[in-house]
Subunit: 318 residues, 2 copies
C-alpha cells in the first residue's frame, strides 16, 4: 500500500510517495504556476504524480490514496478549498477535480495541519498524541492535535496561533485584526521590522542589502548584528509567551516548532525557549518538551500521505 502526499505551496508543489510505514519511496517538486490558473496547477500536480510513480517504480493499482496540504482554509468534509490567497482560489472543489485526474480517493487539509500530522507520524512528534505545532514562515501556521486527531473547532479551520492578539495596539494584520502574533514574529514581520529601523538610519550590517529576507536577518543576528539581534529576540519573546499561553489552555504533551524561521536554529530557538519556560514558571511540575520539527520541508507531503492513510484506515474500521 502506497500513498501520495502533496504539499501545495504558493510557489512550488512538493510531493512524495510514501508507504504505510512512512518510508519515502520517491519525492520531487515542480513550480505551482498559480498565476496561470487552477487548471494549470492541477496539471502540474498530475505531472508530479506521474514522475513520482515512475521514480518509485510502483504500479497504478498500488497507489491507495492521496492527501493534499493547502496554503489556506479548507472545508475538509466537502473537499473544498475555501480560501487560498496565494493560489487566488476561493471555494475551489479540489478534491473532486483531483479525484477525476488521479482516479484515487483524495483528501485535503490545511498545510499547517498536514505538517503537524507528518511530524507526529515520522518526526519530532513520534510517541505523542497531544501536540501543539507552530510553523513560522512567511506567515505563522499552527495545528492542535489531540488524541492523534487534528482539532478543527467551532469554525472548522483549526487553531490560529498566528492570529492571537499579542499587542492590541499593534500593527494591522492581513487578516484585518490588530497586533496578531503574525505581525510581530513571522519571517515577513522580522524583515519589516528591520527595514523600518534601517529607514530610520539605524546602523546595521544589513544596510544596503538588496532583497532582504528573514534568513539574512537571522544570519546577521547569529553574527552579532545589534539590530538583527533585537528584532529576532523580540520575535522569539512574543513566540515564547504565546506558546506558553497556549500551553496554559491546551496542556499538550509536546510543542513542535517548524518552518523556515525555526530552521535557523538556536539563534531564535534559544531565546524563544527561555521566554517559554519563564512564562510557564512554577506551573511546570515536569518539563514540557519544546522541540524543533525534524522533517523540514518534507513534513507537508509526509503528513498529507498520512492523511490519506489514516482516512483509509478509518474507512476500514467503520
Amino acid at each position: 500500500m502506497y500513498f501520495l502526499g502533496i504539499d501545495l505551496g504558493g510557489t512550488s508543489i512538493k510531493g512524495g510517495i510514501v508507504d504505510k510505514e512512512g518510508r519515502i519511496l520517491a519525492q520531487g517538486q515542480v513550480p505551482t504556476k498559480a498565476q496561470d490558473g487552477a487548471e494549470v496547477v492541477l496539471a502540474q500536480m498530475a505531472t508530479l504524480t506521474e514522475v513520482l510513480k515512475v521514480t518509485a517504480g510502483i504500479k497504478e493499482s498500488e497507489l491507495q490514496g492521496a492527501g493534499v496540504g493547502i496554503p489556506g482554509s479548507v472545508d475538509v468534509e466537502k473537499g473544498l478549498v475555501r480560501l487560498a490567497p496565494n493560489l487566488h482560489w476561493s471555494n475551489f472543489p479540489l478534491k473532486e477535480k483531483m479525484e477525476k485526474v488521479l482516479g484515487i480517493p483524495v483528501s485535503l487539509d490545511n498545510d499547517a495541519h498536514v505538517a503537524a500530522l507528518g511530524e507526529m507520524w515520522q518526526g519530532a512528534g513520534r510517541n505523542y498524541k497531544d501536540i501543539l505545532m507552530v510553523t513560522i514562515g512567511t506567515g505563522i501556521g499552527s495545528a492542535v492535535i489531540l488524541d492523534g486527531e487534528v482539532r478543527r473547532g467551532f469554525w472548522g479551520y483549526g487553531a490560529e496561533l498566528g492570529h492571537v492578539k499579542v499587542d492590541p495596539e499593534g500593527a494591522l494584520c492581513q487578516c484585518g485584526g490588530r497586533g496578531c502574533l503574525e505581525t510581530l514574529a513571522s519571517a515577513t514581520a522580522i524583515v519589516h521590522q528591520v527595514e523600518r529601523e534601517l529607514k530610520r538610519g539605524r546602523p546595521s550590517s544589513l544596510q544596503h542589502k538588496p532583497g532582504l529576507e528573514a534568513k539574512d536577518v537571522l544570519l546577521a543576528a547569529r553574527e552579532g548584528d545589534e539590530l538583527a539581534l533585537e528584532v529576532v529576540n523580540r520575535a522569539a519573546s512574543y513566540l515564547g509567551i504565546a506558546l506558553a499561553n497556549a500551553v496554559f489552555l491546551l496542556g499538550p504533551e509536546v510543542v513542535i516548532i517548524g518552518g523556515g524561521v525555526a530552521q535557523a536554529g538556536e539563534v531564535i530557538l534559544k531565546p524563544l525557549k527561555e521566554r517559554f519556560v519563564e512564562a510557564l514558571g512554577p506551573w511546570q511540575i515536569r518539563p514540557l518538551p519544546l522541540l524543533a520539527a525534524r522533517l523540514g520541508n518534507k513534513a507537508g507531503f509526509v503528513g498529507a500521505a498520512y492523511l490519506a492513510l489514516s482516512l483509509l484506515e478509518k474507512g476500514c474500521n467503520e
Copy 2:
C-alpha cells in the same frame, strides 16, 4: 438515585443533593472553619451532608456517590488535594477520608472544573459539549471541556486561563509569574487598581470607602464613576482579548463567564463582549455564543454531583 455535591470553599462549604435529572432536592451551606484544621473541615462536610439528607428526605442507601469541588489543584486519579492554599492543605487524601466518613464513593475535582460541569449539565452550557468556562472571582478559574469531558492536559490540572501572560512587564502574580490575567482582571485586581489610584489622590466616589470590594467598584462603574469605569473597562478588555485568544486555539462551541464579577452583569460583560468580538474579527464566520453562567453559586455543587453521577455511569459502562 441521588448524588451529593459539595463545593468546598475557603470560607463556606455549599452542598446539595441532586437527582440524576439534575433536580435539586436539598441545598445548604456551613462555614468551612479551615483555620481549625482538616478534621474540623471534614466534620463540617459530614454535618452538612446529614442535614441535606434529612431535608431531602432520602434514605441512606439512596445516596449513590458524592463529588467535591476543591479550591486548588487536585490529583483526580489518586483522590488527593495537591495544593489548596485557602484551606492550608497540601497532599491531603480527601477522597479516602471522606469515603470513610460518608460510606459512599467520593470523587474530587478542581472547583472551576466542577462549576463548568454544572453549567454544562444544567446551566448555560446545556446543548454544548465543547466549552470554555472562566470564573472571575477572587482569582480567575477556568475549565476546558471537550466532548463533554474536562481536559486536564499534560500536567493534570487543566486549563489555567488566569495565568496566561497578558502583560509580560506587568505586576507579579501570587503564582510567581508576571503579568498574569489574574493580576489585571480578577476581583482582587480590580480592587487593587482602584486603591492604587485613590492613594494617588484620584477623585472618585469610592474615596474613604472602608473595606472596598470589587462589587463596590462595579456598582460605582454602573453609576458612572470615572475611575471605577476605567478599571472595569481595562479588566473587561484584558478578559475579552484573552478569551478571544483562547478561542483561536481551542475553538469551543461556547464561552461561559461565571463568578462574582461576571454576576455584576452588563457593566463588565458588555465591554468584555465588545473586545472579544473585535479581537476575533473576520475569523467569526458565524457568531460564537458568549454567555453568562446561569447557576450562580449553585454551579459548584451541581457540577460536583454530576461528577459523581458521570463516574458511576462510566463504571456501569465498563
